[in-house]
């Protein structure tokens, strides 16, 4: 029964900041002793606390297999994220975590062919799981990533995708941007029609993350292709305060997004009240 | 009286003069009455009630309701314009007209007028009927110290005379009593009262003068946004600022103290401001007409006294 009280945070230090896109930065964080703060499962989150500014639930972008530090890819959109974007290397921040359930990498995903669909900053949580699978390549079948963004500049971690992911065996990356642009020779258009166009094999297990509209339309597209609800996993977002299922903010039905989620399969979501 | 009101409301509905009726709805007991919107004669027959427990001031609900009506109108206008741009021969969709009937007790009519004055309610969307209160409401501080004013800004009156003789009111007696105390006594009095405050915001949310889109106490970027007061400073802060923000616009309807689950005499704060305004800047009743400006929105360059008047007036014996 007794687990560590989760309200007292760790102190971490930002050791590296990378500008990914105009409004996304990746922060590398370690503990004050220079080691990684805690172990996590892909898809889990951490509560980043900036004393006096606020706190924010951010998914851990790096894979658990990255042993030196943790990474967070963060888009500037609220007061905490804005503060972080103005921070410098060496800044200390507080973290609580790991929070949530994470992707079922050792159970439902193991041995399967994986289709990853992501849009915009939605790549952050799935990045972790893709990297994890890359590092345990033999445990998983084919990996296909479909990733779309507004423009070329907004594709987060393009370099890593091109240079690392694409070179792995049995992997494919399909990129798309919303509007045509000079210097872009890839696909142009939104993600959901692109999914239909690519026509993935309905035996694959799907991991999806992105803005709500992308999730809704992609789900429709997938269903038309013969995918079933329980094959599709997504991560949800809700305002959270405690992260341990107490404060009641992220409550949907009898579930708490922070404790029972953020990763849900669509058949689980189907059992929840149709709130969103 | 209840039957008369129902009959008149049904009549207006049937004539098509109004589409909605804002009134009071029967509860589980005689005394737990909820404000409600009625749209049909059946609903009125079933649930409409008017008795001495109909204390709720309905004027604030009009802000939301008339806004919905206006939004529907402007949306249609916009759609019509856009349709014209696509096809010059397109036929205009009719602008949806809707009028809401509201029952207001004399005291509520002042809140109503004040809201009209501040352009929070569109007058054309409302049909206001003044209803009596003296015999129907029983007690509470508001009634004992009634301003006993005649209803204002109504389209129609039922069971109520337009000219009511104003009676001498003792409503400032309690304020004066507090003023006569020493500063330390007043401090202790208010600390005790405020210490019970839950910060449930009921006083703010029911107040017809509190119609800000975003309250300063909800602004998460300010230090004022505390959900629950942690120290007695934060308790006083909320009440001082809230009273100050409605000063000059408060009609003394008494809703704030009526709904306070902890029975904090919040009306005293508002009355203190009213008393000061009356004494320093001349008699002023918020919501009594559409023309005069609230005390805080105007000034008298020559006639206004300096702030030291506060200390000259104070009855504080201690300092002498």
């Amino acid at each position: 029964m007794e687990t560590k009280e989760s309200f007292i945070p760790y102190v971490g230090k930002i050791i590296d900041i990378k500008q990914e896109t105009p409004d996304v930065k990746t922060f590398s964080v370690v503990g004050l002793d220079g080691k990684k703060l805690f172990e996590h499962i892909p898809g889990q989150c951490a509560m980043l606390i900036v004393p006096g500014v606020g706190e924010s639930m951010i998914s851990i972008t790096s894979s658990p297999t990255l042993e030196t530090h943790m990474e967070f890819s963060i888009k500037k959109c609220g007061c905490v994220t804005e503060w972080l974007h103005n921070a410098e290397v060496g800044q200390q921040i507080c973290l609580r975590g790991p929070i949530g359930n994470g992707f079922p990498v050792d159970t439902k995903l193991k041995g399967k062919d994986i289709l990853v669909i992501a849009g915009g900053i939605g790549i952050a949580p799935v990045h972790s799981v893709v990297n994890y699978m890359m590092d345990h390549r033999s445990d998983y079948g084919k990996i296909q990533v479909i990733y779309g963004s507004r423009s070329m500049a907004d594709l987060v971690r393009l370099e890593e995708m091109k240079n690392v992911w694409m070179k792995q065996p049995n992997c494919s990356i399909d990129l798309t941007i919303d509007r045509a642009e000079d210097g872009w020779d890839g696909h142009v258009g939104f993600v959901p029609p692109y999914v239909t166009e690519l026509n993935p094999d309905p035996s694959m297990t799907v991991i999806m993350c992105g803005p709500p509209i992308l999730i809704h339309l992609s789900l429709d597209a997938l269903k038309k292709l013969g995918f079933k609800d329980e094959q599709v996993f997504t991560t949800m977002e809700m305002r959270m305060k405690c992260g341990i299922g107490k404060c009641g903010r992220c409550n949907i039905g009898d579930k708490f997004v922070c404790k029972d989620g953020p990763v849900f399969s669509f058949d689980q979501l189907g059992e929840l009240p149709p709130e969103y | 009286m209840q039957d008369k009101l129902i009959a008149r409301a049904k009549e207006l509905l049937a004539e098509g003069k109004v589409q909605k009726v804002v009134g009071w709805k029967k509860g589980l007991f005689e005394d737990d009455i909820t404000p409600a919107v009625f749209t049909t004669a059946e609903e009125l027959d079933k649930d409409f009630v008017f008795n001495k427990y109909c204390k709720a001031n309905l004027s604030k609900y009009l802000v939301k309701i008339t806004r919905e009506i206006e939004v529907a109108k402007s949306t249609t206008r916009m759609n019509n314009t856009m349709a014209k741009q696509r096809d010059p021969n397109a036929e205009d969709k009719p602008i949806p007209q809707a009028v809401v009937l509201v029952f207001l007790k004399p005291s509520d009519t002042y809140s109503f007028t004040q809201l009209l004055k501040e352009n929070r309610i569109t007058r054309g969307d409302v049909y206001a009927i003044g209803v009596p209160c003296q015999d129907t409401l029983d007690g509470g501080d508001v009634c004992e110290n009634c301003k006993n004013k005649k209803p204002v800004s109504c389209d129609e009156l039922i069971g109520i005379e337009a000219d009511i003789e104003p009676v001498e009111s003792a409503r400032m007696a309690e304020v004066a009593k507090l003023e006569a105390m020493t500063a330390d006594e007043r401090d202790a009095f208010w600390k005790n009262e405020f210490s019970r405050c839950l910060r449930c915001n009921a006083c703010r949310d029911i107040c017809p003068a509190c119609t800000c889109e975003k309250c300063v106490f909800d602004n998460n970027k300010l230090y004022t946004s505390q959900k629950v007061a942690e120290t007695n400073f934060e308790e006083s802060l909320f009440h001082i600022i809230r009273a100050w923000h409605v000063a000059g616009r408060c009609t003394d309807c008494g809703e704030c103290s009526r709904v306070c689950p902890q029975h904090i005499p919040l009306y005293l704060l508002n009355r203190k401001f009213i008393k000061d305004i009356n004494e320093i800047y001349g008699e002023y009743q918020a919501g009594s007409d559409m023309e005069t400006k609230p005390a805080m929105l105007t000034f008298n360059a020559e006639g206004d006294p300096e702030t030291t008047i506060v200390y000259d007036r104070s009855h504080d014996k201690e300092a002498e």
Binding site: K4, F7, V11, G52, E237, K246, E275 | P35, R196, N201
Partner: protein, 354 residues
């Protein structure tokens, strides 16, 4: 069973209150009662209910969680938790005692535990008092809660009958309390208590909402849940229930089972640094679910729906049919517009979707 004459009850309070904090309902100057710490001269209130529930003692309005000291780029974290001293709450009603159970389920029995709450809970001795005069707003019997305390409730059950207070211990903590108070208590038989229990049960049977039918609400199927949820606005339950709602937090703040909180930082501007505080929050407030980008619950309709659905449907789903409402009737008394859970239950029944 032990007893003390009602006119001697102050000597019991003095005995206990001089050793450890003792809280009891005391009349305040607004004609209502609130829990207050005992000190000499403080008298037990005869009021049935305090305005605020007794949850404050375990889940206070505000609670200091963590302190931060920020110095340049460096942050120091301080844990402000101290040992809680033992304390006693006297005069808790059966409904409030049941409310603790609802909060326990989430804060103590759900992983991970909330140490702030658990700590207080372990150090508090709860003495329940039977409700001699239940009022028309009470509907605890709907949830099978027994205001006559025939079923053990709290650490010590107590009754006031014929000018005498009677006590019976239910737990070890309760026994310890009665031992500590032994010098002023004397042995008694339970005749008067039995008579009181009976008269209370009779009174409760006559209350208007003694037996609201909620049997079906406790175990709804997903289809039924979706019907009550009323996404397509067919039955209009939630539209009607939220029509008059002001969006204030009165109902949540007086509720013995509401346990949502917010976490806020307060910069003291001194060497004490930044205090992270958790404070009560209400799902009826418009910024409850406000995120940087959007708010999933836009109108009061969704917010009211969340509150009542959580109490009557979601919570029972997660906790074996236990409702997160104890029928104390506080929201019936306090709501500025008199919209309350009993009306909602009736609306759900009238909609005939169950």
């Amino acid at each position: 069973m032990l007893s003390i004459a009602a006119d001697k009850i102050d000597s019991l309070f003095e005995l206990i209150g001089s050793k450890q904090p003792l809280y009891l309902p005391v009349d305040n100057n607004s004609g209502k009662a609130d829990f207050k710490k005992w000190e000499k001269g403080v008298k037990l209130s005869s009021a049935l209910k305090t305005v605020r529930s007794a949850k404050d003692f375990f889940f206070p309005k505000t609670e200091h969680m963590v302190s931060y000291k920020v110095c340049g780029k460096e942050i120091e974290v301080e844990d402000p938790r101290k040992d809680v001293e033992d304390f006693v709450i006297f005069g808790v009603r059966a409904c409030d005692a049941k409310g603790f159970e609802c909060i326990d389920n989430v804060y103590m029995h759900m992983n991970p535990q909330d140490s702030y709450y658990t700590n207080r809970r372990e150090h508090g001795t709860v003495i329940t008092l039977a409700c001699n005069e239940p009022v028309k707003e009470c509907f605890c019997s709907t949830y099978g809660i027994d205001a006559s305390l025939a079923k053990a409730s709290g650490d010590v059950s107590s009754w006031c009958a014929d000018g005498t207070f009677y006590f019976a211990a239910n737990t070890d903590k309760g026994k310890k309390f009665l031992e500590a108070a032994a010098s002023v208590l004397k042995d008694a038989d339970d005749k008067a208590v039995e008579a009181t229990k009976k008269s209370i049960s009779e009174k409760i049977e006559k209350l208007p909402f003694a037996h609201l039918d909620i049997s079906k609400l406790g175990k709804v199927t997903p289809e039924q849940m979706n019907k009550i949820f009323d996404k397509d606005n067919k039955t209009k339950i939630w539209e009607k229930a939220s029509e008059a709602c002001l969006g204030c937090g009165t109902c949540t703040y007086v509720c013995p089972t509401c346990m949502c909180f917010d976490v806020r930082d307060f910069a003291t501007g001194t060497d004490k640094g930044i205090r992270q505080v958790r404070c009560w929050d209400s799902c009826m407030y418009n910024d409850f679910t406000q995120m940087a980008a959007e708010n999933p619950r836009h109108t009061q309709k969704e917010r009211s729906r969340q509150r009542f659905m959580h109490k009557l449907v979601y919570y029972p789903m997660a906790h074996e049919g236990l409702f997160s409402c104890v029928g104390c009737g506080r929201c019936l008394e306090s709501c500025p517009v008199n919209m309350n859970i009993v009306k909602v239950i009736k609306m759900i029944q009238e909609a005939g979707e169950l």
